[in-house]
C-alpha cells in the first residue's frame, strides 16, 4: 500500500513503464488475495455488539421477567394485562396524546426553524438560544407553570382581570392540556433536527423556483419541505417516541382526571402492591416498545422510497425576504418564546424567591434563603450538579462518537440486520424511565460475570442507562444528516486510497458535524434534567439534579425545588454561552445559535 511509483507525467519514462506495470500488477494480485472487507466487518460487528448490549440486553431481561417471572415460563401476566380494559384505554390515550403532541411540536418547531433558517429576521441567534432553553427546564416544572397560569391564582390572568373563579376546573387537566404541553415541550427537538439540515439547502434551488415565479409558499411546499424530508421525519419520529414515553406531563395533568396513559398506568401498577407486579410492568413496557417500533418502521418506509441527496458546495440560503411581514413575524416569534420560556421561567423564579409556597412575592417577603440552602447547606445538591454535568456530557460525547460510524452503516450499507438494529435503538427511549431502570437493576444487580465488578448503586449504572436511553437522540439527527450527503464525496476519498477510518475522520465527520452536534446538544440538555431513571438508580454520592429536584417537590419543599431549577437554568445557560468562545474552531453549523 502506498508504494511510490517513479513514473512522472512525461512520456520520457516509457522505458520504465513495463517494469512498473508488472510491479503494479503483482501488487494488485497480492492485494486481491486479502480477505474482503475485513476491517469494515470488524467495525460493524463491534458496533452492532454495543447496540445489542445497550438496547437489547436490558429489555430482553425485562421481557424475560414478563414471560417467565422467577424462572418459570408463564403467560399469566400477559393474559392479565391484555384482558384488562384499562390497558386498552391507556393505549388509546397514549396514541392520541402522542399523535397530537407530535403534530403540535412539528408545526411549531418547523415554523420556527424555517423562520430562523430561511428568512431575514433580526436577532436570529437570540431566538435560537431562547427557543432551545425550555429543554433545560424539567417537563414537570413547565407543566406546573402552565397549570398555575391558567388557574385561579395566576398572576397573569389576575392582571388581565380574567382569572377564573376559585373552584372552576382548570382546562389543562384534560387530553387537550396534555397535548398542548407535550407539543410545547418537544418543539425544540424538531427545531434542532431541522435547523442543522436547513443549512445544507443550496441557495440556487430556492432561487430557481422563486425566479420561475413561484410564490414563497409554493416554494416551501414543493421544494424546501420535500428536500427536508429526512430531518423532518427524524424530528417527527423523535417527538412521537418522546411523547409516547413521557411520564411527567401526563402525571401532572392526567392523574387528577384519571386520564391514564401507558407510562402512568405502569406507575400505577408499581404503586399498587400485589404479586407479579414486575411482570405486568414488563408486559406493559413491551406494549409501548411495540408502538414505538411501529412508528419507526413507518418513518423508515417513507424515507426509503425517495432520494434526498443534496450535492452541496454552495453557501447556505437566506433567500426569503419578509419585508412587510418581518415585524409581525418577529413579534410572533418572541411572543411564542415568551409563552414557552418566559412563563415557566418566571413561575420558577417567583417561587424560588418566596420563603414558602403561597406567600405572595413582595419586597418584604423576597428572600434568597432557598438559594443559600441549596448551594451551601445541601451537599447533595452540589454533588448533583457535578454528577449531572459529568454524566450528561459523557453521554453526549460517547453517543455521538458512536452514532457516526453506526449511522454510516445504517444508511449506506443496508441490510436486514441493520434495519433491526435501527429499530432496537428506539425501545429504551420509548419505554418509561422507571421501566428501563428496573431492567438495569435486574441486569446489574449481581457482579458482572467475567470482571467481577458490580455496577449497581454506582454512577456507572446511571451512565449505562443514559447511553442506552439517549442513543436514539444522537442517532436520528446523524442518520438524517447522512441521508442528505452525496455519497460520491465518500467514494471520491475511497478512490484516493483512504480506508474507512480515515474516510470517516477526514470526509464524513466534517460533513455530518452539524447534525452530530445537534444530537449531542439534545442529549446533554435532556440528560441534564433527567429524573425517572436516576430516581431508582442513584445512591449516596451519585445523586443527579433530577433526583434532588424530585425529592424536594415530593416533600413539599417546592421553594427549594424552584431554587434548584433556577440554578440549573443559570448553569446551563452559562455553559451554552461559553461554547461561543470556542465557536470559531468548530465547523460551521455545529452550534445552532451561531451563524
Amino acid at each position: 500500500m502506498g508504494s511510490k511509483t517513479a513514473t512522472s507525467l512525461t512520456p520520457e519514462s516509457t522505458a520504465d513503464d513495463k517494469s512498473i506495470t508488472s510491479r503494479t500488477s503483482t501488487l494488485l494480485r497480492l492485494v486481491a488475495l486479502t480477505p474482503k472487507l475485513f476491517e469494515d466487518y470488524a467495525l460493524l460487528t463491534w458496533l452492532v455488539g454495543v447496540v445489542a448490549v445497550l438496547s437489547l440486553l436490558p429489555l430482553a431481561r425485562l421481557v424475560a421477567e414478563g414471560i417467565a417471572p422467577g424462572g418459570t415460563l408463564s403467560t399469566d401476566a400477559i393474559a392479565r394485562v391484555l384482558a384488562s380494559p384499562t390497558t386498552w384505554t391507556a393505549t388509546g390515550h397514549s396514541l392520541l396524546t402522542a399523535f397530537g403532541g407530535t403534530l403540535l411540536a412539528v408545526l411549531v418547531g418547523t415554523a420556527v426553524a424555517l423562520c430562523v433558517g430561511l428568512t431575514d429576521i433580526r436577532g436570529r441567534n437570540a431566538v435560537v438560544f431562547c427557543f432551545v432553553m425550555p429543554l433545560l427546564i424539567a417537563p414537570q416544572v413547565v407543566a406546573l407553570a402552565w397549570l398555575q397560569s391558567f388557574g385561579p391564582s395566576s398572576p397573569l390572568l389576575k392582571m388581565l382581570g380574567a382569572a377564573p373563579a376559585m373552584g372552576s376546573r382548570n382546562p389543562l387537566y384534560s387530553a387537550g392540556g396534555i397535548i398542548l404541553v407535550l407539543g410545547v415541550q418537544y418543539a425544540p427537538l424538531v427545531f434542532l433536527t431541522l435547523r442543522a439540515a436547513l443549512r445544507t439547502l443550496p441557495q440556487e434551488l430556492i432561487e430557481a423556483a422563486l425566479a420561475g415565479g413561484a410564490p414563497p409558499r409554493r416554494v416551501l411546499r414543493t421544494i424546501v419541505l420535500p428536500l427536508m424530508t429526512p430531518p423532518l421525519l427524524a424530528g417527527i419520529a423523535l417527538s412521537f417516541v418522546s411523547c409516547l414515553g413521557n411520564f411527567g406531563i401526563p402525571a401532572l395533568l392526567g392523574i387528577p382526571g384519571n386520564y391514564v396513559v401507558l407510562p402512568t398506568l405502569i406507575y400505577q401498577r408499581l404503586a399498587g402492591l400485589g404479586p407479579g407486579v414486575l411482570s405486568e410492568v414488563a408486559v406493559l413496557s413491551m406494549l409501548i416498545g411495540a408502538i414505538a417500533v411501529l412508528g419507526i418502521v413507518a418513518q423508515e418506509s417513507m424515507l426509503r422510497r425517495r432520494d434526498f441527496r443534496i450535492s452541496a458546495a454552495t453557501i447556505a440560503a437566506r433567500p426569503f425576504e419578509l419585508r412587510r411581514l418581518r415585524l409581525p413575524t418577529e413579534v410572533a416569534l418572541w411572543t411564542l418564546i415568551g409563552i414557552v420560556l418566559v412563563l415557566p421561567l418566571c413561575a420558577l423564579v417567583l417561587t424560588s424567591l418566596v420563603p414558602a409556597v403561597g406567600v405572595s412575592l413582595s419586597a418584604a417577603t423576597a428572600t434568597l434563603d432557598n438559594f443559600r440552602f441549596v448551594l451551601f447547606d445541601h451537599a447533595a445538591a452540589r454533588r448533583a450538579f457535578v454528577n449531572s454535568f459529568g454524566l450528561s456530557a459523557t453521554a453526549a460525547v460517547v453517543i455521538v462518537a458512536f452514532a457516526i460510524p453506526l449511522a454510516y452503516f445504517l444508511v449506506w450499507r443496508r441490510s436486514r440486520l441493520l434495519r433491526a438494529v435501527n429499530l432496537v435503538t428506539e425501545i429504551p427511549y420509548a419505554v418509561p424511565g422507571v421501566v428501563l431502570a428496573i431492567a438495569a437493576i435486574l441486569l446489574f444487580l449481581k457482579p458482572l460475570p467475567l470482571v467481577g465488578v458490580t455496577l449497581y448503586n454506582t454512577v456507572w449504572i446511571i451512565l449505562f442507562c443514559y447511553l442506552a436511553r439517549f442513543l436514539v437522540l444522537g442517532l436520528r439527527p446523524v442518520v438524517a444528516g447522512y441521508h442528505q450527503l452525496d455519497r460520491t464525496l465518500e467514494e471520491a476519498s475511497q478512490i484516493a486510497g483512504a480506508r474507512l477510518p480515515r474516510r470517516l475522520r477526514t470526509v464524513i465527520v466534517p460533513l455530518v458535524a452539524p447534525t452530530a452536534a445537534a444530537g449531542a446538544l439534545l442529549i446533554f440538555l435532556t440528560a441534564f434534567n433527567e429524573l425517572t431513571l436516576s430516581a431508582l438508580l442513584w445512591s449516596s454520592g451519585s445523586e443527579t439534579l433530577g433526583v434532588v429536584f424530585f425529592s424536594f417537590q415530593q416533600g413539599g419543599d417546592s421553594t427549594y425545588a424552584a431554587a434548584l431549577g433556577v440554578l440549573t437554568v443559570i448553569v446551563s445557560v452559562a455553559l451554552m454561552l461559553s461554547t461561543l468562545l470556542v465557536a470559531k474552531r468548530l465547523p460551521p453549523g455545529v452550534l445552532p445559535w451561531r451563524d
Binding site: 502506498g2 511509483t5 507525467l9 494488485l28 452525496d486 467514494e491 484516493a496 486510497g497
Partner: protein
C-alpha cells in the same frame, strides 16, 4: 499503466439485468469511450470497474490481477485508479490544494514533495494560484479541472471519467475535450470515458463501446462505427443515422451491393462476409443525400422542416413512398426550398446493416 479486462460481467437488480454479459478489453494506454443513452448501464459498468458494487457473474481484471468476481472483491481504495465524477465530488470543507493533495496524504507523502506534486497537478490543469480557494467559490469549469487534478496527482494506472463534461457549457466543453486529449497524449494513461454524447466520444476515443440495455452492441473505432454500424441502434445513435428499409439486396462486388430504397436502386456498402439478399435495413448518412432536379432518378420526398444552422440548412423530408420514415440532409446557404415542397433526393452511399435475416433464404 494497466490493461482493463472485463469478462462476461453480469449485474442484476431483482429481475432487471443492468449488465447483461458484458465483455470488454481496454489495452494499456488506450482511450476507450463507453457510449449509450441514459439507463443503458454505463454508470453501472463504471461502478463495477471502480469496485463500488459487486458483480453477480463474470470478472474484472486490472493488469493481471483479478479485482472483481462474485466471490472475490478488492475494495476501491486498493485499486489505484482515478475517477472524475460527474458532479466533481469536491469536498466542500477543504481548499483546492487539500482536495488535490488528499490522495498524497493517504499515501503518506509529506512536504515538500507533496506540495510540489500538488502544484504540478494544478499547473497541468492551469489552475496555479487557486490552491487556497474553496470549491464553493469556483466556477463549473474550474471545479472540473480541480477534479481532474485530484485524479491525476496520485498517478493512477487507470482513469475513469463519468460524463465529466455533462454539466459544462458548450464553449467550455470544447476546451476541456482538448484538455483530456492533450492529457492522454502526454501521459499515455489508460482511460475509460463514460458519456451519452457521441460527438465527444468520437473526438476523444481510440475505440468506442456502444451500450444499450446492459449489452455492448458494438466495440470499434469511431470511423468504423460511423461507416459500418452493427445494428439499428448503433446506426441511429452515431451521427444521427437514418435507418431505412431496403429490398432486393443483391451483391455486386466484394464489399458492395445494390438495393431498392423507396423504389430507387442505390449502390451501398455491405459486410464482405455476410449472407445478404432480399429485405434488410440500411443506414444512410445525411451527407450521402443530395437534392437533384426532378428529371434525375431518385427518391421523391416532401420537405417537412427547414432549420438554419449558420451557413447551411438542415432539411427534414418524408419520402412519398414511406412518409413514416423520415430523412434529413444538409443544404448550403442559400436555399430556396420551403416546407411542403417536393424534392428528388439522390442517395450516394449507404451501409447495409448486418444481422438481418434474409427472408428469401429463410434461415
Amino acid at each position: 499503466m494497466a490493461r482493463l479486462t472485463i469478462d462476461h460481467l453480469v449485474k442484476r437488480y431483482g429481475e432487471f439485468r443492468a449488465l447483461d454479459d458484458v465483455s470488454l478489453t481496454v489495452d494499456d494506454g488506450e482511450f476507450v469511450a463507453i457510449l449509450g443513452p441514459s439507463g443503458c448501464g454505463k454508470t453501472t459498468l463504471l461502478r463495477q470497474i471502480a469496485g463500488f458494487d459487486k458483480p453477480d457473474a463474470g470478472s474484472v481484471r486490472i493488469g493481471d490481477a483479478v479485482v472483481s468476481t462474485p466471490g472475490q472483491h478488492v475494495p476501491p481504495e486498493r485499486r489505484r485508479i482515478g475517477i472524475v465524477f460527474q458532479s466533481y465530488a469536491l469536498w466542500p470543507h477543504m481548499t483546492v490544494a487539500e482536495n488535490v493533495g488528499y490522495g498524497l496524504d493517504v499515501a503518506g507523502v509529506k512536504d515538500p514533495e507533496r506540495r510540489q506534486r500538488v502544484n504540478a497537478a494544478l499547473a497541468l490543469v492551469e489552475l496555479e494560484g487557486f490552491a487556497d480557494r474553496r470549491p464553493a467559490l469556483l466556477s463549473g469549469g474550474q471545479r472540473q479541472r480541480v477534479a481532474l487534478a485530484r485524479c491525476l496527482v496520485t498517478e493512477p494506472s487507470l482513469v475513469l471519467l463519468d460524463e465529466p463534461l455533462a454539466n459544462l457549457d458548450v464553449h467550455l466543453r470544447a476546451a476541456m475535450e482538448r484538455e483530456f486529449a492533450r492529457f492522454h497524449e502526454r501521459t499515455g494513461t489508460t482511460m475509460v470515458y463514460i458519456t451519452h454524447d457521441q460527438a465527444e466520444a468520437m473526438a476523444l476515443a481510440d475505440r468506442i463501446a456502444v451500450m444499450d440495455r446492459g449489452r455492448i452492441l458494438q466495440l470499434a473505432t469511431p470511423s468504423v462505427l460511423y461507416r459500418e454500424p452493427a445494428d439499428d441502434t448503433v446506426a441511429r445513435f452515431i451521427g444521427e443515422g437514418m435507418v431505412v428499409p431496403v429490398a432486393g439486396v443483391a451483391r455486386d462486388g466484394d464489399a458492395t451491393c445494390t438495393a431498392d430504397v423507396f423504389g430507387h436502386r442505390v449502390r451501398m456498402r455491405c459486410d464482405a462476409g455476410a449472407r445478404i439478399g432480399g429485405e434488410a435495413h440500411a443506414c444512410l448518412r445525411d451527407n450521402a443525400l443530395r437534392v437533384v432536379n426532378g428529371a434525375t432518378p431518385g427518391v421523391r420526398a416532401t420537405i417537412t422542416s427547414i432549420v438554419y444552422q449558420g451557413g447551411r440548412f438542415r432539411l427534414d423530408a418524408a419520402p412519398e413512398r414511406a412518409p413514416g420514415v423520415p430523412l434529413h440532409f444538409g443544404v448550403a446557404e442559400p436555399c430556396s426550398l420551403r416546407p411542403g415542397d417536393s424534392v428528388t433526393l439522390a442517395i450516394d452511399d449507404g451501409w447495409v446493416l448486418p444481422g438481418w435475416v434474409t427472408r428469401a433464404s429463410g434461415r
